[in-house]
């Protein structure tokens, strides 16, 4: 039997894999020691578990375990990377570059750095959501010290050309930070090959627990950071605070499973995503947002023209999805990511993000397809815009009464 509502919001968060939860529990109950305790076996046992997890995180991204620093999640990793590097290297220059489609954890941190006297360039992306390398090259300045580019976009799932960006940064002596919160387990990440200096990770987007993440800090060539959290000098002084052993064990196990299973899992999810895409593409005037080829397999972001997003979400309440328009707040503000792609407001208003995952089934996708057909048809019957378009009216020529 199909259980409703159907969860299609895996980019918001994923359930903890039962195998991960099982591995975590002993570290809450009997193996509760503080990994910083050096004087007894409780501490040694916890420390061993943490180092094993560190190895697993490093293995997924082909890095050295010594390059992994535990944090509370990708938001903290982004803060530590950007503020830590900018402040440490401020003597070299005070210019940073990022993209307009970055996650708020990067954009808002950049705003804070502007208040601290740094200058930040926010690059536009192309209509397909990808960074134009020529635009990026032109933005580099002699005083640029740091670039921050996300690996996979959280809304539209496009994969940025990190390898190319890294080559350019390295040749100019500029540090590169990559927010990889949405990338782990979805794309192959090889930090031996990629010229990336700092990379942020999160556990809960990859079937691990919430509240734990990591920052990769390259050792060769060595990257220095100004610590943002002071205290007992944990994590080689990069980030003080008692390590949450059970969370770390969970992240390690989640990343181990991702490494072992991502090949087969991504093919299965890609088939389901393509089934969903095929199933909705015979609805008139459906537009996919973002490049379809350079995209993670589990994301579909589509606009259903002439249907308003909030009423669509209301109509498909059996599906747990995200809308591109943040219209649950007072202001009807369309997604800044879709706006950055140059989508008109009405298409940005009518966009839905479907993100599939480990526990999505074909039966669920087929249910979603039927529901979308039914409800979009009904809402378009209600839509004066749809009626006008059917009559051949070009909506861009209409003089709308302002209100």
């Amino acid at each position: 039997m199909l259980k409703l509502p159907i969860y299609l919001d895996y980019s918001a968060t994923t359930p903890v894999d039962p195998r991960v939860a099982e591995k975590m529990i002993p570290y809450l109950v009997e193996k509760f020691g503080n990994p910083a305790s050096r004087s007894h076996s409780f501490g040694w046992e916890a420390e061993a578990a943490i180092e094993e997890a560190r190895e697993e995180v490093a293995r997924l991204v082909n890095a050295d375990p010594k390059e992994i620093v535990w944090t509370s999640g990708a938001t903290e990793s982004n803060n530590l990377a950007l503020k830590g590097a900018a402040q440490f290297y401020a003597g070299k220059g005070r210019h940073l570059i990022t993209m307009k489609t970055e996650h708020k954890a990067v954009l808002d941190t950049c705003r804070e750095l502007e208040r601290q006297g740094f200058t930040v360039t926010y690059l536009d992306v192309m209509e397909n959501g990808l960074l134009d390398i020529d635009v990026f090259k032109a933005a580099l300045r002699p005083d640029t010290i740091l670039v921050s580019a996300m690996f996979v976009n959280n809304e539209i799932g496009v994969i940025q050309p990190i390898a190319e960006i890294g080559e350019i940064c390295r040749s100019k002596g500029v540090l590169l930070h990559v927010d990889a919160a949405q990338a782990t387990g979805k794309v192959v990440i090889d930090l031996e090959a990629l010229k990336v200096d700092l990379m942020s990770f999160s556990a809960h987007k990859t079937y691990g627990p919430k509240g734990i993440g990591a920052l990769y800090v390259r050792r060769k060539p060595r990257v220095r950071l100004t610590a943002q959290m002071h205290g007992g000098g944990h994590e080689r002084g990069f980030r003080s605070g008692t390590l949450p052993t059970h969370q770390i064990v969970g992240m390690g196990e989640a990343f181990r499973l991702a490494r072992l299973e991502m090949g087969a899992e991504n093919e299965r999810i890609r088939m389901l995503r393509d089934r969903l895409l095929k199933g909705v593409s015979d609805i008139d005037e459906v537009y996919v947002n973002g490049d379809l080829e350079r995209r993670v397999p589990h994301n579909l972001n589509a606009s259903f023209a002439y249907v308003e997003g909030e009423s669509l979400l209301m109509a498909i309440k059996d599906l747990a999805v995200s809308s591109g328009s943040a219209c649950t707040s007072a202001s009807l503000e369309p997604s800044y990511v879709l706006r950055a792609l140059g989508r008109e407001d009405e298409l940005a208003h009518s966009s839905i993000r479907f993100t599939l995952g480990r526990f999505t089934t074909a039966e669920e996708i087929d249910y979603a397809i039927r529901l979308l057909h039914d409800k979009i048809g009904r809402l378009r019957e209600l839509s004066p815009l749809w009626e006008m378009v059917q009559e051949g009216v070009d909506l861009s020529t209409v003089q709308w009464a302002a209100h």
Partner: protein, 131 residues
């Protein structure tokens, strides 16, 4: 966003959805809002003898509250004269549907739609409005 029972009822079972033929006798149209703002309402009234609204239809692009507001006014304007229809105020619509503060603009838009439809009727019939 949580909706009142009445909003949900109008959203699930909207009353008087559709359009009249443009050339039909006594039909007038009010179209308000803009796609970029996230809502557009089209209200049509069919006015008979003595300026009484005999029938009304709507189509709305917008959130559940906008759909419910326009569905409700199609029920309310029927049987009223065009001048009585102008007495319908957004506060009455908002009260009836228990709209939260962030959705008051939906009721204002519905009131504007009535005004626009009546204005369209008066414009079309200004030559022989005396009857």
């Amino acid at each position: 966003m949580t909706y009142s029972v009445k909003v949900l009822d109008h959203y699930e079972n909207p009353r008087n959805v559709g359009s009249f033929g443009k050339e039909e006798e006594g039909v007038a149209t009010g179209m308000v809002g803009a796609p970029a703002c996230g809502d557009v309402m089209k209200l049509q009234i069919k006015v008979g003898k003595g300026g009484v609204i005999e029938d009304a239809k709507f189509k709305t692009y917008g959130c559940g509250s906008a759909i419910a507001s326009s569905s409700l006014v199609t029920e309310w304007v029927k049987g009223r004269t065009i001048d009585q229809a102008l007495d319908i105020k957004n506060t009455q619509i908002a009260e009836e549907l228990a709209l939260p503060p962030v959705k008051i603009h939906c009721s204002i838009l519905a009131e504007d739609a009535i005004k626009a439809a009546v204005a369209d009727y008066k414009k079309k019939h200004s030559d022989h409005a005396a009857g």
